[in-house]
Symmetry: C2
Subunit: 196 residues, 2 copies
């Protein structure tokens, strides 16, 4: 799996996106931006400390420029070992992956790497809050769904997760003005039910 930088143009002038996950132009960008803005709000207001991990890149060669800076002139993208986001919220380790789909009816499970699902299962076994955020871009609807539900579908050999099941077993995240994607509200209601 190769990861492309956002909005970059190659020498052949093809439009390439940089969401760290997909080669389809622009996929993943709106969602990622909304999550990052929400995380910045959480951090600024001392609600949670959650960051997006950098995209892993193997550096093969660097040069020192005349201006004294260092330029990487040979490198390639690596497959990430884990998920995109992790951090701490209300004393708990939190870990999730975020994905977009253009489909109006289902989420294709091939969009998530198996080792990412394994990672989510593993951290949940250690006590983490672990889930996937799925955005249906054509519908402008974004859902939070626990890793266990997604892993159960994959373990059953299913190739996709129908939207109706996501509506049933997941949780719609409402877009808000100040916090574009206030997913911690869903976390509060579903992972800390006794404390509310």
């Amino acid at each position: 799996m190769i990861h492309y930088p956002n909005g970059l143009k190659t020498k052949k002038n093809q439009k390439i996106n940089l969401d760290g996950k997909s080669s389809q132009a622009n996929r993943g960008m709106r969602l990622e931006e909304n999550i990052n803005l929400s995380n910045e709000y959480y951090l600024r207001n001392n609600i949670a400390v959650i960051y997006k991990k950098p995209t892993p890149i193997k550096v093969l060669h660097i040069v020192n420029t005349l201006s004294g800076s260092t330029k990487i002139d040979d490198a390639h993208f690596l497959t990430p070992s884990t998920t995109d986001y992790n951090g701490i919220y209300r004393g708990k380790y939190i870990d999730f992956e975020a994905k977009e789909t253009k489909s109006k009816t289902l989420f294709p499970l091939a969009s998530i790497h198996n080792h990412q699902l394994e990672h989510l299962k593993k951290v949940a076994q250690h006590g983490a809050i672990a889930f996937i955020i799925i955005s249906f871009t054509s519908l402008s609807e974004t859902y939070l769904i626990d890793q266990k539900i997604v892993n159960d579908y994959v373990d059953s050999g299913l190739k996709s997760l129908p939207l109706k099941d996501i509506k049933d077993k997941g949780h719609l995240i409402k877009e808000e003005y100040i916090i574009p994607l206030n997913y911690l509200k869903i976390v509060d209601a579903n992972y800390f039910p006794c404390e509310k």
Copy 2:
């Protein structure tokens, strides 16, 4: 702050290391390798899920090669927003930075970015286990010290942390055969004292 790749040679043929933190040759490599090997052991044996974060890199240009792969031909290193390592252990979020020094008497506090110390303080406020691993390479001694102690020294305006204070307030991590740097043994004794 510029980050150099490990063991790479620039076009001017200078030896450059790639520990993501320092431009001094070979610094940080032995320690990083020992921590990574220990983390692999913890992961394989289902003890903890702790990963090193990728070094953040800003990709400016990519090319599609004739073989169909993607090559990054223009990029530069970014200053990391957080620390190098995080994950989950015994249900707790764990976060730390690892540093080496050649000094035999002190640890220079300028080796750690202020925003990394701030990050450690912040996650600790949210309930994390947060510390720094300091390796004295000339002495072959590695210590784990809580973030609060290091932050207190920095807040007092001190420029270095004397080794004798690290011995006093931190904890020596013994090198072991199977787990090169079994720092979770120190975490067990000091962050879960009532449960042992």
